[in-house]
Symmetry: C5
Subunit: 93 residues, 5 copies
């Protein structure tokens, strides 16, 4: 999984019928210090009630579909947790 911050929301009227009713949030990966990285933001399906500005855990690939109720959804990224706390140490080998 990755750490990310929810930065936006996307709406689509015309879409796959198995995506109807899903909340599509734009998530940006963050580093160990919580700051957004330069990587490309992705669209994640929210499954835990996340909001813009929240730091989240998201899953990518086919496993993301496990978090979604509709088991036919074509989903490759899903938010599966809201980060409470992130503690880390720096190592230099």
């Amino acid at each position: 999984m990755e750490m990310g911050i929810v930065v936006g929301r996307v709406t689509a009227t015309r879409k796959d019928e198995n995506l109807v009713g899903t909340k599509l949030l734009i998530t940006q990966s963050i580093g160990l210090d919580g700051t957004p990285l330069d990587s490309q933001p992705i669209i994640t399906v929210d499954t835990v009630g996340a909001g813009i500005g929240e730091r989240v855990i998201f899953v990518k690939g086919s496993m993301a579909s496990r978090a979604v109720i509709n088991k036919d959804s074509p989903v490759d990224a899903a938010i599966v947790g809201i980060i409470d706390n992130l503690e880390c140490e720096k190592f230099k080998g």
Copy 2:
């Protein structure tokens, strides 16, 4: 999923029989402001009636095949929505 813009179309007479009848669109990833990124464009199967110049949501990997009618298609990327609106905020940690 990713945000992209449809930039072209590819045709192939000689192809896997399970791809016959699929519309293959070339899609370029876009950033939060809607502008195309430098990343490599990919070939996506259109499942929602997208056209060149439209901003779309596309799925990658094995989950893309869920959006395609022929369940034997060797498909690893599919357009699953047309973006109506994209709202986002900038965060700096």
Copy 3:
């Protein structure tokens, strides 16, 4: 899927028994103008009779195995089409 050009061929006598009889072609990703990119070339299983120098469509990941006859083959990339024509437009947001 990605657009690529077949640039070579690899042979292996000692290999997984489910790869026996497969034609392994080295494919380099290409950009919208058809020129090879700097990305790492990969080994693709040919399923459409592609030859060196041809521009092709290839699938990556587990979906590649759908294009292969032997359903037990450990295959993560396959050529599934020969590109006839590629038309695209340039967008700048």
Copy 4:
């Protein structure tokens, strides 16, 4: 699989119910000499009792879920071993 070093831990009260009880460790990829790389750290599910500072083997993608007891967990990265020893040679073609 990849080689990594466990650099932190993340906690999330609000999360997918199939993640309840999993230990989520932040892992940074390491190079052949054991030093952390610049790549983005990821969240891995610990399945072998790893601790901060330990060098580990981790699996990514859908196969990571094989290492987890709850077979419905939306998991795309898991620590599956603690590295005892890593021996390597340098090659220049």
Copy 5:
């Protein structure tokens, strides 16, 4: 699949029980001329009796598990062939 060179070996006493008995080799991707690339080395399960210094074909992702005897192994990369010969041409579009 990718072309690589086996550069090392990793041992782990504490590991997932479905990895017991597997030979874990460190593999570095190589380019068309056979020289190692700068990309991150990965841990691959050997299924063909490869040794250090040999040039190999390896599979990544869930398909790698097809090459492994234990079908419950959490494996995302496997060596599936020893390269005998690699012939390629240079193209410039």
